[in-house]
Subunit: 268 residues, 2 copies
């Protein structure tokens, strides 16, 4: 593998805000690493778009990051990972980590009864990406998936604590409860913010897999293998956005608990 | 006004599916008119995007229709009308009708206590387009607005009849009930599908303004003025889409109650 810029930042892209859960975990688990985040807020969401469009958008997003000399790319969007990860790996000559495999591996590790649930966007569910990844790690596991398109706007309204959040979750999760899954993958980077509601609906015995946490661990392992871990230096963080930079800045600062600079990258 | 193609079709664009409520009304009220619909499903939704992006998308959408020699353009998207209608009118030399004015005029006509409510996407609410239009027709009216970002995905899930649809509507509408509005503009082309829920929450005495119905009436008046009404011929309908044509076709056929042909216009 050709190393373009071993001292460079880690690039992360997502369709919008959701990938910030991955950024937060990377900051926590790899505090010395520089990060560049690109959020394609002009075309968000990806979860309802076609395979062809998601692949086109993902290639364009990777190119935005490569222009900034990133040393690796984290695809912090489940829909992009589902459809575009293999295309990106073939097209670009740097390490690329998606959000599917780390979560799938953890769920396989945690399940006792070999029945795993996956909640995600329509695009991720329709791609069968989690099914394939889980069966790769353990072909004996049964996978039950459910698309939950209202969860993202619910989180973006900040209504995680409303009573109807539980009613909505009950509606979406009833087939997974009936299927008696004992591990549930939160297959969309927004969903960790609904953890309490999901725990209440699924019950304490179901293990919830937080992809953001697992992805950061995977990035750490990759960096150890290719020995490009930075140590000791103060990390730099850059945020690029294709629409509404102020809006993004306000939400991201609140979520990350630090002030950040956001740059508009328009008309990609 | 220069007439490019007086015998041509009426062009209609929207960010996605919502504009079909306008198409259905046009088919009903102007059965002899040819229609070309363009739905920008690759970048849907517009309601959460910035003014600059919405203007850029709207110009591109109008150009798609102009290439097909439309005689007028209906902007069947409230977000586009709010931010881009004036830009489009200045840029293109054919009649362009938006969805804001017709609904605003009807609400002013119907209100008794001069207190009008508007529910719409964030972009439409933040643009103050309805406020301006209502005050243009009657400066003595008070306007109360509420953005309802969960209504579109709720309608797209087909969950208009679930109990939590009423809970969600109660949450969104409580400030408008408190304000004692007696007319409520459904300022997003998806919302007429929630009419029953909105009626239940607001009470029978509040008049609900259906923009789609009012817009079709406006188009009819414009065509009468510029005398390009077609009579007697069998109308042709064309549907252009920037992503997921089969998905659009399935939903549109069900909604319109007729079989249609859908063409993909990619990489705009």
């Amino acid at each position: 593998m050709r190393i373009i810029n071993p001292g460079g930042p880690i690039g992360v892209f997502d369709s919008g805000f959701g990938g910030l859960t991955v950024v937060k975990e990377l900051m926590r688990q790899l505090p010395a690493e520089d990060l560049i985040y690109f959020g394609d807020t002009a075309r968000v969401p990806y979860g309802t778009k076609s395979k062809e469009s998601i692949i086109r958008f993902s290639i364009e997003n990777a190119e935005v990051l490569l222009k900034r000399h990133v040393k690796m790319i984290v695809v912090a969007c489940n829909s992009s990972t589902s459809y575009a990860l293999e295309v990106l790996k073939n097209k670009f000559d740097i390490p690329i980590v998606g959000v599917i495999d780390p979560g799938a591996r953890k769920a396989v590790e945690m399940t006792q009864n070999k029945r795993i649930g996956v909640i995600a966007t329509s695009a991720t569910v329709n791609s069968y990406a989690y099914d394939k990844a889980i069966k790769y790690f353990d072909s004996g596991v049964k996978v039950f998936s459910q698309a939950c398109p209202l969860f993202v706007p619910l989180v973006e309204e900040g209504w995680m604590h409303k009573k109807f959040a539980v009613d909505l979750a009950e509606e979406y999760l009833k087939s997974l409860k009936r299927a008696r899954v004992d591990a549930l993958i939160l297959g969309c980077t927004h969903y960790p913010l609904l953890k309490n509601v999901l725990k209440q609906v699924m019950g304490k015995k179901v293990y919830l897999v937080d992809s953001a946490y697992e992805v950061a661990g995977e990035v750490k392992r990759v960096l150890e293998i290719i020995s490009k871990n930075r140590k000791g230096k103060k990390a730099q963080y850059q945020f690029l956005i294709s629409d509404r930079p102020q809006h993004f800045q306000a939400i991201a600062q609140k979520f990350l608990g630090r002030s950040i600079h956001v740059e508009l990258v328009a008309d990609k």
